[in-house]
């Protein structure tokens, strides 16, 4: 939940921010935050997740062109200098932390036996690592980032619901 204490510095937008904004499913407080953001960063993992749409959507669906056009416009709006791309060391650390996060919750309500779940956790870990190293807070609704905050106390996350 976005609290009364504002962000301390620059913010990185997780993939769900883009999807919830474009579909209008996000809370109004998220829109208010976006309006007032002077500087916005994006993880390379989010670029991949948004680009996934361009290959995944059914090309025969009458609304696919509209969605892809919107995604393309969104990607074009992202300043390449504001894309945080992980180094080899950050990939290694993200893998380690994704594993630690899965170990912490596996066997409970989640199994992580599906490859897509592991990939999503790894993408989240990559985003967490690059943001933390750059001292940039993350805006997300993804509760998995709470796990990464426990692993890395320097990580700052603004959750919205």
């Amino acid at each position: 939940m976005l609290g009364s204490t504002g962000p301390l510095g620059p913010l990185l937008l997780d993939t769900n921010v883009f999807v919830n904004a474009l579909t209008g499913r996000g809370p109004r407080i998220l829109q208010t935050l976006l309006v007032n953001l002077p500087q916005t960063f994006v993880s390379a993992a989010t670029i991949a997740e948004l680009s996934w749409t361009r290959g995944r959507l059914d090309p025969d669906h009458p609304q696919t062109a509209k969605v892809i056009t919107t995604i393309n416009e969104t990607l074009a709006r992202i300043d390449p200098a504001k894309i945080l791309t992980p180094t080899a060391d950050q990939w290694r650390l993200a893998g380690e932390r994704a594993g630690a996060a899965v170990r912490a919750v596996a066997g409970g309500t989640r199994s992580f036996k599906i490859a897509a779940e592991r990939h999503e956790m790894l993408n989240d870990a990559l985003t967490a690592v690059v943001a933390s190293d750059a001292a940039i807070g993350i805006v997300t609704q993804d509760a998995d980032f709470d796990l990464f905050m426990q692993i890395d106390p320097a990580l700052e996350v603004l959750f919205y619901a």
């Binding site: 937008l13 579909t23 209008g24 500087q39 669906h61 709006r77 504001k82 001292a135």
Partner: protein
């Protein structure tokens, strides 16, 4: 100061404010805005409280350092956030099954 995470990795605590101003300078540098010699002379009066607040964020009371950090922060601003807010709900009428493919 440092902390130890569950995996045993030592992570340094960082001064977010100083890193944020440094980040703006790094981006300004990457954009080629700091390649030239410092020849532009500035002479301005500002409110002491405003300068002090900015100096605390930068971690220096040097006018040159504070002004450079402030200019870098301004020069590297972007409009992605406001633009995205302006696109709010542009895909609201799209078939939920098609949107579901984004997450599957």
């Amino acid at each position: 100061m440092s902390v130890t995470d569950p995996a045993g990795v030592i992570q340094p605590r960082r001064n977010r404010r100083k890193i944020a101003s440094s980040l703006a300078l790094q981006m300004a540098s990457a954009a080629g805005l700091t390649k030239e010699a410092k020849t532009k002379h500035l002479n301005a009066k500002v409110q002491p409280a405003l300068f002090a607040a900015a100096a605390r964020r930068v971690g220096s009371t040097s006018p040159a350092v504070v002004i450079e950090a402030a200019l870098a922060a301004l020069a590297t601003q972007d409009d992605l956030g406001p633009w995205l807010a302006g696109q709010w709900g542009i895909l609201a009428d799209v078939d939920p099954d098609l949107l579901g493919q984004i997450e599957a």
